[in-house]
Subunit: 420 residues, 2 copies
């Protein structure tokens, strides 16, 4: 999909020693220093070549998992006319809407979510139960007029979002699709390296349903708090932890006095799914004939997952004191080839290793810079966090080998270049 | 990249008989009727599954051609703070800016172009001539507060845009990159099926340069007018056709009286490239040390190309009375397999052809709908415009063959399924 390898001497970004104090969050500090993102203003970032590669890989994983559910990809507008938000009564209710006037004095907003667009749109193609179930998703830039935005990629005013919407004839069908989606989400987080740290969390269902479900990644840097169940990868959002009914569902037969204390942890919300039931199909009078010829309102679900927030969460949770530490499937490159050669003759050998890797379709960032010391190159390599560092030097050339180091474990070995 | 085949019975969209009179443009009428896009308001469209596939293929072609120039992909924010637009004096000058207030009463706008973001950003990584030349591009949703938007995908308030920015030490280097970019643009238009109809057009350089260059696709439905040079794929935008100096450059030695009359044609602007010179590097005090140690301002170029506009232009220029007619490389699917079978036994045979094509990695839209007549299926197929239509019917099954028809030429033949 993308040019799969690049010489670092031609990479447009450089690592940065010091970053602004305006940026207190760990994820943004690391991503800024490594040259993955740039901050235009609070909560608004540019994705630079290394960062965009990570983002695109996360989005491709999400795309594959949503496609596997049978959902079809669309791209909905960010600019919304006021009328559709009036129809659901949310124009004045959603406090993070960017509202403004367009040509002809028309009231517009930037969509932070797309029920108002997708419901009438997909509804126009649904004639009967034969057209159900169906589901669409988009991966898109979204906007929220947040009062504060101090958490880097974790809470943006402009951010990337996958939002999926499903349409069903029966509650059983909605429930079954919702369960399948939980599996797809678990696949996404696993592939992005967050599987072990991420738990399905029961949260408030708002006005739509009894509960919604969040996917919360456990980390001391999180803004949220969850209560972990013993022996299960399931949690309860602290906001409903006082609500007895959630325990009836999750720990039946226990009472306040008999059940074990739940462990409270800080966490980051990386996904959020809702059963919307008929909240939006009622507002847009969306219905379909069932198999008996009766007109019934359509049931809906919505499923959010933020690729840029996942990127920030990985940066925050999987890094160490030396820098970023990308899981294989979302790393910007698979191999960071670091050349420490001096002579032209040695440079030919380093280039040869680079070309061999490229020919084998391995994605390589090739640090061919000739004006830097080994220590500075290694520090850059640790900060950028590519899974495998491969060093070519006078010493390794003499041995006919290269040195390979695992970014995460630090394990080092000498191997033949062909065996990487 | 995407699920490469789909059964039409599960496709979320259907073709539409009648479209709103609010949409007078041919491209939008066709794309709406075929279910490729949906109109949310004037100049603002949703891309539905078939349409998004076309858009993504066009964007992938652009990505490949920009990567081949050595440009690096980034993703810049749509939300801009007023300060950067004040710094170039364009906050009040660009009349299509959507301007509004964000949290903390901050003045914001939606970027219709990104010189104000990219210049200081890339500048922060340029220390000397050794970091030059460099170029970055993005493929992004852009916004223009157009007073009127009646041309479908050709003039949107929200639209997809590729914008590239290049940075150079010398005029010769900028000129050389600019020429290479013209070649890359020609590749893009050729691969999108617009090569023969698209001409390099000299246009006003504005305050930056003597000329800018547009890529204009000749069509009677265009909003622009160009004057074609005889015997060359080059034109002059009518807005500068009275300017004698352009003839000195393009037809030296001729005068108003001696030169042949130029043919005036209507056209659609599908690309636009500028030498910005030091207009923006001056505003952001962007400079670099040259090889002699002197500080010099950096020269810039910018290069626009709209994927959604290209999609609208292809819809408008390459369609016929029956509907859309996609060139192979940007068609949503390569084969439209139309099943006219009746019995379960025949259905097994049709499914077999589908599975064979899928196994061979051919992208197939499989019209397996059982509740439609042949005539309606053929009309849908012509409207959707996939390059090859393959029919499986009782008759073709009896012959052990399938019927294949070329959408553009209408040529039909009977072939073995394996030979498609």
């Amino acid at each position: 999909m993308k040019t799969s390898s690049i010489r670092q001497s031609s990479l447009v970004t450089k690592t940065i020693k010091e970053t602004s104090k305006e940026e207190p969050s760990l994820n943004a500090q690391l991503l800024l220093r490594a040259g993955f993102v740039n901050r235009l203003m609070a909560g608004v970032y540019s994705f630079l070549p290394l960062g965009l590669r990570v983002l695109q890989k996360i989005e491709q994983i999400i795309r594959e998992e949503m496609d596997a559910l049978g959902a079809q990809e669309v791209l909905l507008p960010a600019l919304h006319p006021r009328e559709i938000w009036d129809q659901t009564g949310r124009w004045d209710k959603v406090d993070v809407l960017f509202r403004f006037k367009g040509a002809g004095d028309r009231d517009l907003c930037l969509g932070p979510t797309h029920e108002e667009v997708v419901t009438p749109l997909i509804g126009s193609f649904i004639r009967s139960y034969r057209d159900l179930p169906t589901a669409v998703y988009q991966i898109q830039t979204k906007f929220r007029n947040e009062a504060r935005a101090k958490s880097g990629l974790l809470r943006g005013r402009e951010f990337r979002m996958k939002d999926m919407y499903s349409f069903h004839e029966t509650q059983e069908d909605l429930d079954a699709f919702y369960e399948k989606t939980i599996g797809a989400y678990n696949n996404v987080f696993k592939r992005c390296g967050l599987g072990e740290k991420t738990v399905l969390t029961y949260a408030s269902g708002g006005i739509f349903s009894k509960y919604s479900h969040e996917f919360q990644t456990i980390t001391e840097y999180g803004e949220d708090s969850v209560c972990l169940l013993p022996d299960k990868p399931i949690a309860i959002n602290k906001e409903i932890a006082e609500d007895e009914s959630v325990y009836e569902e999750l720990m039946p037969g226990t009472s306040k006095d008999t059940r074990p204390a739940l462990l409270e942890k800080k966490s980051i919300e990386v996904g959020n799914i809702f059963k919307l039931q008929t909240r939006f199909s009622d507002a847009f009078e969306l219905s379909a004939l069932d198999s008996s010829g009766n007109r019934k309102p359509i049931l809906m679900g919505c499923y959010g997952l933020g690729p840029s927030r996942v990127m920030g969460t990985v940066a925050e949770c999987l890094s160490d004191a030396k820098g970023l530490c990308w899981p294989k499937e979302i790393a910007p490159y698979q191999v960071h080839l670091v050349s420490l050669v001096q002579s032209d003759e040695e440079r030919v050998q380093a280039d040869k290793v680079f070309n061999q890797l490229v020919e084998r379709n391995i994605e390589v960032l090739y640090d061919d810079r000739s004006d830097m010391q080994a220590g500075a190159k290694f520090a850059d390599s640790d900060l950028i966090g590519i899974p495998k560092r491969v060093v070519v030097s006078k010493k390794t050339i003499a041995a006919g080998l290269v040195e390979i180091k695992d970014r995460k474990t630090g394990e080092t070995s000498m191997v033949a270049p062909e065996s990487i």
